[in-house]
Amino acid sequence: MEKVLSVSNIEKWFKKTKVLKGISFDVHQGEIMAILGPNGAGKSTTIRNIMGIMYPDKGNVTFHNHNGSEIPRHKIGYLPEERGLYKNVKVMDVLLYFASLKDYPKDKAKKRAIDYLEKLGLKGKEYASVEELSKGMGQKVQFIGSIIHEPELLILDEPFSGLDPVSQEIFKNEIKQLAKNGTAILLSSHQMNLVEEMCDRLFMINRGQKVIYGSMDEVKTEYANFKCTIRGKNDLSVLEKLPAVTRVEQSDDISIIYLTQDVQVTNWLKQLPDSLDVQELSVDRVSLHEIFVDIATDKNLAEEVGGSNA
């Protein structure tokens, strides 16, 4: 697939703090690429550097063959994390204004606006005042505003925040549809389940540095090991002595035993001692959510693998 956006080795300083320490990734046509990380990791700063709202102190942002300030920004759609709409204007007026800023023809924009309003359940709201919209409706209008000009690259910063599950579903499907039609999508979100479901690749960032970068499958194979959850009163030391264990977390009478990557689950289960107190037992894979939490709380999985087996 064609490379639409390429971020290479960008660095950014805020006064004396280095907030981006050499970030590099690509976004391809028709894929959904997630940029993940805890609050303050540098996601929004990275995005603002791509959008030319600020410029990196080092490194390059390339869109097709354009660099830095030459990037044709009307080919990019952007839904920022901090977003809103003018209050005392009509929905259609705002959408047409956004379209005109992107040099998109007015009549086409009008048609697209009406189509999308209908698609997102806002039929007939085009001449309503923005003030009359609920928060969720407002978000939908903002979303339409970011795609009204048929961008080649769409950057969505936290598109799901504040949406109810139904709207989340609508957004998710719409984003997938856009990707299917060839739009390159860079998406930042904290809703790990949604990211896991819809993204092709992901880039995880913490403290301005790359932590994980790869396709969803690669990441899962590499990081999403098995874990065994047991409810029952068991001694931590006993559990830690089991084979192929990287780490054990205990709270009350629930123990989560993290297993090594190469573990054979059935074999491992057979080796459990009879003395264990088992009220409930389940084995599943570590989710993206847990990988994320581990990284955010500095329980670096890779390090623990070597450390806890000893």
């Binding site: 603002r48 959008m51 030319g52 709202i53 920004r73 009307h74 990019i76 952007y78 839904l79 920022p80 901090e82 977003r83 809103g84 709409l85 003018y86 209050k87 005392n88 204007v89 007026d93 204004y97 956004f98 005109s100 800023l101 992107k102 903002q142 505003g145 970011s146």
Partner: protein, 411 residues
């Protein structure tokens, strides 16, 4: 520039359709007309109350004829004159009953002694004695007639002394003409430019709101993904400038018929369309640009006006400083205060307009120095505002302190 125009167009349309803007657009000239009418209206209203003093005039000399036209005009007094031949003693009782009435006796004795005898009822206002001066001229005339003066002599005695400047230049001639006509011929272009300046600065203050609101509504980042911060800022300045023009056009269109009606003999438009007007408008526009830069930068630092500090409030007051200077400048338009204020960019537009309204000879050197300082200041303020705007508009959730703004400026 194209992007700036788009922003300007949007800001203009958005506000021009806004209900509160439209309402104030039409209410302001209405208020102006009301205020212009109020004094006349109120004084007429007051007249009704204590008007119509019944004056019993015992006129044995025949001055009544002379004052009759003046009484009919009712410009000076409102008397309802009833001629009578009663003596003061007889009137006493009647005035006791009829409280809003007076009695005036003018007879041979009046002419000899120069003393007019009169009596008033309880309700007659204190000004009545002043009103009696209306009788002075005819009585004097009658006195002179009695003294046997010829009509030429009488003319001479009665004509007032005139004072005339020895230097008979062109100026004094025109001035002599003017005193008879409209006193504001020279000031009219300045008044016009003043209204213009006022209107665009007022709408310029909306830039502040607009920038602050954009920050509050968090639209800025979406807009900045399509245009640069400087384009957005320029667009706002341009948009609100057009809004100010719209405002002043509406005002003048609404007020002009009223002004023409009120000042029917004055060729207003002839006085207005002179080359000076153009110069004064340029000064007004420069004034707008300075304050616009100030407001747009400031607006980007404030998210919530109710919790903003004194600093921002003080900056908002800057355009109004010239109002404090109105007194000193009109008393002495070439004085030291006027000169210094001409060189301070915040005061110079308004002060220049005031000075040029009253000065016969324009102090070109001062004007040019003042304008040069103003233009340089505008350039500097635009640069600074651009810096503040760029950083400020994307900082969410708080107002910037002066220290922070200082840091952005140095960055």
């Amino acid at each position: 520039m194209r992007n700036s125009m788009k922003v300007a167009n949007w800001e203009f349309k958005r506000n021009a359709r806004n209900k509160s803007f439209i309402i104030s657009l039409f209410i302001t000239p209405l208020l102006f007309v009301i205020f212009a009418m109020a004094p006349t209206f109120l004084s007429n209203f007051g007249d009704d109350e204590d008007s119509e003093t019944t004056v019993y005039l015992n006129d044995e000399v025949g001055v009544f004829e002379a004052i009759q036209p003046m009484l009919e005009d009712r410009d000076f007094v409102s008397w309802d004159v009833v001629e009578t031949s009663d003596e003061p003693e007889q009137m006493q009782e009647q005035l006791n009953e009829e409280e809003k009435a007076a009695y005036v006796l003018i007879n041979q004795e009046t002419l000899e002694s120069g003393t007019v005898t009169y009596m008033v009822g309880d309700d007659v206002h204190d000004d009545f004695e002043n009103e009696l001066t209306i009788l002075q001229q005819p009585i004097k005339q009658a006195q002179l007639q009695v003294a046997g003066l010829s009509s030429d002599q009488m003319q001479l005695v009665q004509s007032p002394i005139d004072y005339q400047l020895a230097f008979e230049g062109e100026a004094s001639e025109t001035e002599a003409e003017e005193t008879g006509g409209f006193p504001f011929e020279q000031a009219l272009p300045s008044i016009f430019a003043g209204i213009f300046l006022f209107s665009i600065v007022i709408s310029g203050m909306m830039i502040f709101q607009s920038a602050s609101q954009e920050k509050k509504d968090k639209v800025a980042e979406i807009i900045l993904s399509s245009v640069t911060a400087v384009e957005l800022m320029q667009g706002k300045i341009l948009g609100y400038f057009s809004l100010g023009i719209l405002q002043v056009t509406v005002w003048l269109t609404l007020v002009a018929p009223f002004a023409v009606w009120k000042l029917e003999d004055v060729p207003l438009f002839e006085y207005l369309f002179v080359p000076e007007t153009l110069m004064l408008l340029v000064i007004a526009i420069l004034g707008y640009l300075l304050f616009a830069a100030l407001f747009v930068g400031l607006g980007a630092t404030i998210e919530d006006y109710s919790t903003s500090g004194n600093f921002q409030g003080m900056v908002m007051m800057l355009p109004f400083i010239p109002f404090f200077l109105v007194g000193p400048i009109f008393t002495n338009p070439s004085g030291i205060i006027a000169q210094v204020a001409t060189y301070i960019p915040f005061t110079s537009p308004a002060v220049l307009l005031m000075r040029l309204a009253v000065l016969d000879e324009w102090p070109w050197v001062e004007i040019l120095i003042g304008l040069a300082i103003l233009i340089v200041s505008i350039w500097i303020f635009m640069k600074l505002a651009g810096k503040i705007f760029q950083v400020g508009i994307l900082i969410y959730g708080k107002n910037a302190t002066p220290q922070e703004i200082w840091k952005w400026l140095r960055a």
